[in-house]
């Protein structure tokens, strides 16, 4: 008798476990939105409806913002597929449930940091549980901030909060680029009398010039191995070069009469995508980091293109189409038909290969904005700094 009861209990327990894990897998699979360009074009991907309750003030704002950027829509209880209930008295606590089954997917309490950072962590955990993809709220952005007549490089949270100036030179700056996995930034500064590329260690505060040749030194982009791609005009025309992280071992990869600009790396560090005006119209090309013949990348329908960025999962390239307005477009990494995502320029991928930060012109200044590529939902970043442009998202 005891044996049969025990078997029954264990059997039910196992059965319950199987059901739980299978349904969690199903949820994650349903919402693990890989970007599918054909679905994008047909506008088929809808935000996931989610309800929030029990949160207040800054915590509630952060949760709403992060979830909306993450491809969710905040709705009232009835319409929701998921519900988050929690509190923020002294610390953030939140429980995520599937509405229909009331199944609890997570129930977390957060400690340390600020309430704001705890709220970001909860949002990340919710997004990761439902979509299967890690959250992005703790990755910083760098950008060019303009206030009065002065431009400086800034870093901040991805939502624009906690901005900190990196430079204080009162010199023209441009094109910040994070070193992967490090608190180090490359950027262009005119403090030496012309556009030069610097490497700035944010931990030690040390900065060194990496390229300060005559003419143009700009558009530094770093591979995961620390190889720097850049645009130099020292040989008489703006061309693509690569070097070691400190600027040594310089190698010229293109040698054309037209201008090359804005290189970006494939995530595996083996290829560089960049812009060349050789065909008469600025177009995307891909070249091996070792050099050799570049291959033109098809961006059908986009016209004059610029500022590519390669997704961390290797699958897609976003770029700016310079039409009557600037528009953010996407193509598969092997090229194809360009799909327009938003009005704006200078896109930079988040680590999740799903969210893009870019800048758009609004009322005579630049504003940073976040785009959820699958749902095409956009949210402006908070900013008090005047005009902000050329964002780069740490990965």
């Amino acid at each position: 008798m005891k044996f049969k009861t025990a078997t029954l209990v264990v059997g039910m327990f196992l059965g319950g476990l199987v059901l739980t894990t299978l349904s969690e897998a199903a949820i994650a699979a349903e919402h693990a939105e890989e970007i599918d360009i054909s679905r994008l074009t047909r506008g088929l991907i809808k935000p996931i409806p989610i309800a929030l309750s029990g949160f207040s003030g800054e915590v509630a704002s952060v949760l709403r913002f992060d979830l909306e950027v993450g491809g969710f829509e905040i709705v009232s209880g009835e319409a929701a597929q998921y519900a988050v209930n929690g509190s923020n008295n002294g610390q953030v606590q939140g429980e995520l449930r599937v509405v229909v089954t009331k199944q609890s997917l997570l129930n977390n309490r957060y400690a340390g940091g600020t309430l704001r950072s705890q709220a970001h962590n909860l949002a990340d955990d919710i997004i990761e549980k439902i979509t299967g993809k890690p959250g992005i709220s703790r990755y910083k952005i760098a950008f060019k901030g303009q206030s009065g007549g002065q431009t400086e490089i800034y870093i901040s949270d991805f939502d624009g909060f906690n901005p900190i100036p990196v430079t204080r030179d009162n010199a023209l700056v441009a094109a910040p680029c994070w070193v992967p996995q490090k608190r180090m930034l490359y950027y262009t500064s005119y403090k030496g009398g012309g556009p030069d590329i610097y490497l700035h260690d944010l931990n030690s505060g040390e900065r060194r010039a990496v390229a300060q040749y005559s003419g143009l030194n700009t558009s530094a982009a770093v591979s995961r191995e620390g190889v720097v791609a850049m645009i130099l005009s020292k040989s008489g025309s703006p061309d693509l070069y690569v070097s070691s992280g400190n600027g040594t071992n310089l190698k010229q990869l293109t040698r054309t009469r037209e201008d090359e600009s804005s290189p970006c790396w494939s995530p595996d560090g083996r290829h560089i995508c960049y812009v060349s005006s050789v065909p008469g119209v600025p177009s995307l090309y891909v070249i091996s980091a070792e050099g050799g013949s570049p291959r033109r990348l098809r961006t059908a329908g986009a016209g004059r293109v610029s500022e590519p960025d390669w997704s961390p999962d290797g699958k897609y390239i976003v770029f700016t189409a310079m039409r009557r307005e600037f528009e953010i477009c996407i193509v598969p990494a092997e090229g194809g038909d360009a799909v327009t995502l938003a009005t704006g320029e200078d896109p930079s991928w988040a680590a999740n290969s799903r969210t893009v930060i870019f800048s758009r012109r609004s009322k005579g200044k630049h504003v940073l904005s976040l785009l959820d590529v699958p749902t095409k939902r956009m949210k402006d970043v908070a900013q008090n700094l005047g005009s902000c442009s050329q964002p780069n998202w740490a990965k």
């Binding site: 476990l17 430079t167 994070w178 992967p180 558009s219 008489g236 201008d259 320029e345 990965k395």
Partner: protein
């Protein structure tokens, strides 16, 4: 006997438990994404701090009387070894203010209407052999920031090549592109845009 059966079920349960949780994870991302305790970028504790002293590049002062060491290939002459040292020269932006060269949209070709201005700059440089020249390249706002920085440089380089073709040696001429960052006019129409697509000359006279 009964206990033995029951005891076997416990390790079986554990195996199944771990086996099933193993199935839940999605595919590993291509690039490692640091976890909460990893090396991801965190809230900044420090900013700025002391900037270590940088060594200024040694800038050779070219003797304008010598033949150019810079070999032109395919209409493209390498730039001098470094920027002109402002501790050695005084800037004069007024000398060639009337000679600012204008360009068509998205182009860096020297129009025939502009050639005369560059010729008068060349004449002056020939008459003042100890002077140097910076050419600033600029764009209108209808390109992205880095595209425009490269286009502005091409414009400055095009003016430089024209001066070289008129006999001025390349060592005397440097280029600085500002892209769209230093407009001459701040409007958003063709009148303003036309005034921003330009190459400006900055004469450098050696300090005595």
């Amino acid at each position: 006997m009964k206990r033995a059966h029951f005891c076997k079920l416990i390790p079986l349960t554990l195996v199944l438990l771990f086996g099933l949780t193993g199935c839940r994870k999605g595919p590993k991302p291509l690039t490692h994404i640091p976890g909460r305790t990893g090396s991801g970028i965190r809230d900044a504790a420090t900013t700025g701090g002391p900037i270590s002293p940088e060594t200024a590049a040694t800038i050779p002062v070219a003797d304008p009387g010598t033949r150019s060491q810079l070999q032109t290939t395919d209409g493209q002459t390498p730039l001098p070894g470094g920027r002109f040292d402002r501790s050695l020269y005084n800037e004069d932006r007024s000398q060639f203010r009337e000679q600012t060269v204008y360009f068509d949209f998205d182009k860096s070709t020297i129009k025939s209407s502009e050639q005369g201005k560059i010729q008068s700059v060349a004449d002056y440089l020939r008459s003042e052999p100890r002077t140097m020249l910076d050419i600033e390249g600029h764009c209108d706002e209808r390109g992205t920031a880095e595209y425009n920085r490269a286009l502005g440089e091409r414009r400055a380089l095009a003016v430089r090549e024209y001066l070289i073709s008129l006999g001025i040696i390349g060592e005397r001429i440097n280029t600085i592109s500002y892209g769209e960052d230093r407009p001459a006019e701040t409007g958003h129409d063709e009148i303003a845009w036309a005034k921003n697509r330009r190459g400006e000359f900055i004469l450098l006279r050696p300090k005595q």
